[in-house]
């Protein structure tokens, strides 16, 4: 499959994930966890929408830059979710969705690399 089209699908799925996570924050009684979830959801939503735009405009370099940014931030989010300050009933759902998102972009960058797209030159 064409790399840009594949990225477009991933960005759309990411937008859906971020909306789902935004929904879970409505039922969150732990304010620290709620703010953390809202922050990552908004980040994922914005980068997802930007990614859709970049994919539709065929802007390869910006898709790659977006992918790097998402990987970097979502791994930061995952690494501190172990803190008891972020405990909430929806934590397993959040962790699953964010982990899948991380995996998406690692695979996407790998595919770009295999397709000889310069993944570091952005």
């Amino acid at each position: 499959m064409n790399f840009v089209r594949f990225s477009l699908i991933l960005f759309v799925v990411q937008v859906l994930f971020s909306l789902a996570m935004l929904l879970t924050s409505l039922f969150n009684s732990n304010s620290y966890a709620m703010y953390h979830t809202i922050s990552i959801s908004i980040f994922m939503l914005l980068t997802g929408l930007l990614g859709v735009y970049f994919s539709l405009k065929n802007q390869l370099s910006r898709i790659i830059a977006n992918a790097w940014l998402i990987i970097s931030i979502v791994t930061a989010y995952l690494s501190i979710q172990i803190s008891p300050f972020f405990d909430n009933p929806f934590k397993p759902v959040e962790l699953t969705l964010v982990s899948i998102t991380t995996l998406f972009w690692v695979i996407d960058l790998y595919l770009a690399y295999r397709n000889k797209i310069p993944v570091l030159k952005i």
């Binding site: 940014l69 930061a76 690494s79 803190s83």
Partner: protein, 453 residues
Amino acid sequence: MSQQKTKVTFDDYSLEEVPKEQRYGLYNLFLTLSAAFGAIAVIFAGGVLGGGLTFSDAILAVMIGNIILTVIGSLTGVIGAYSGLSTYVGWRFPFGRVLGKIFGFALITVTTGIGWFAVESWFFGVVMNEIYPNNPFFSVWVAALWGGVLMIISTYIGYRALSFLSYFILPQHVWLVAVGLLLAVSLHGGWGAVWTAHPSGSMTIAQAITATVGLYIAGSLIAPDITRFAKKARDAAVAWALHMFVFYPLLIIGAVAIVLLAGSVIVTEDMLKLGMGVGVLLIIVLGQWIINTVNLYSGSLSFTNAIPIRRDYSSIIVGIIGTILAAYWGYSAGSSLAPFESFITILGSLLPAAGGSVFAEFFIVKPYLEGIKDPYLRFKLEPGKKYSEVNLVGLLSFSAGAAVGLLLPDLGIAAINALLVAFVVHILLAFLFKKANIKYELGTYEYKGGVVK
């Protein structure tokens, strides 16, 4: 053919101009320049300001310091983008080939490449040992050893590895520090309490500006090591200004807030208390990794400039020396570290004087005294052209600037004084020597194309 290409890529055009097709865009430059802010030292420096200033005074001091650093870094960055040369090869124009080699080796290979690389590797070992105290793999000297090797590997690869580390680590670093700070602030009384908190000690705004500028003046003056990869000179200046106003204030002012509220200088300790153990580990391990890659990268470029071997090889030589030093300090519980730190600090304080001479040569002497208006041609290596071995004006202006910086450390900002004195003296001497028809460029070296020896 492909083998030759690999060689060139790993060498990172250390002794020649970076070709236009191998250059990068604004986003890459912005993140790669920001790699220097991976250092925990930046957050700790904010802690020092928080110990002596109120929050509003600290913001004022950091912003003034930031403006000074933005001007200096943008100007050096632009020189790198126009010339496509590393800082030290560029130094051959104001100082001559021989002096450029000596200054590069003394002011960067010894200080940043070996000295600070060793100190940061040792510190990496100390932190690892604090987190895992009873594991022999994490004893100070062993951790310093494997940490140093890790950093040498990334530096061996060069700019591409630095880009990779920056893309992955920098946004992550900011998220982790921001979340840690916000949590800590909300637990200690919120932002309202930050604005009304009083520091435990006292510090003048001038001292704080000096500290803010001093922390990053060296990084500002060797910006061409990174900005030579810029597609456009404007990108170099914008990336520099952006990275100064996005990461630097966030890390420093954030640390000030923590110190004012919690009284603890060590932000990472606050984050550990909040249960953010893995996040803290990432900040320390990846932060030290990226800052030491930056240190060793500049060290290897200046070493290659002095002794013309491939940059990837020189990163191994310089890195091994630094790693052995770090492991020795770890093994001997930090003995001989303090005098060495003083030595490289004094040596590093001479750097602003060199920066003043470079500015004078590029922005005044070349265009107005030598008539080279096109900025792309001012520091250009042209095959068949002859260059000087020693530039007397460069030597004298550097000496004047260095003397002022060393002898008057308490008069204003010593680094800026040194830079300005060297700048003015360089222009005056070049003008006077030319007017009196005195030859101040001694010896000749003919550049034959390719890498410069």
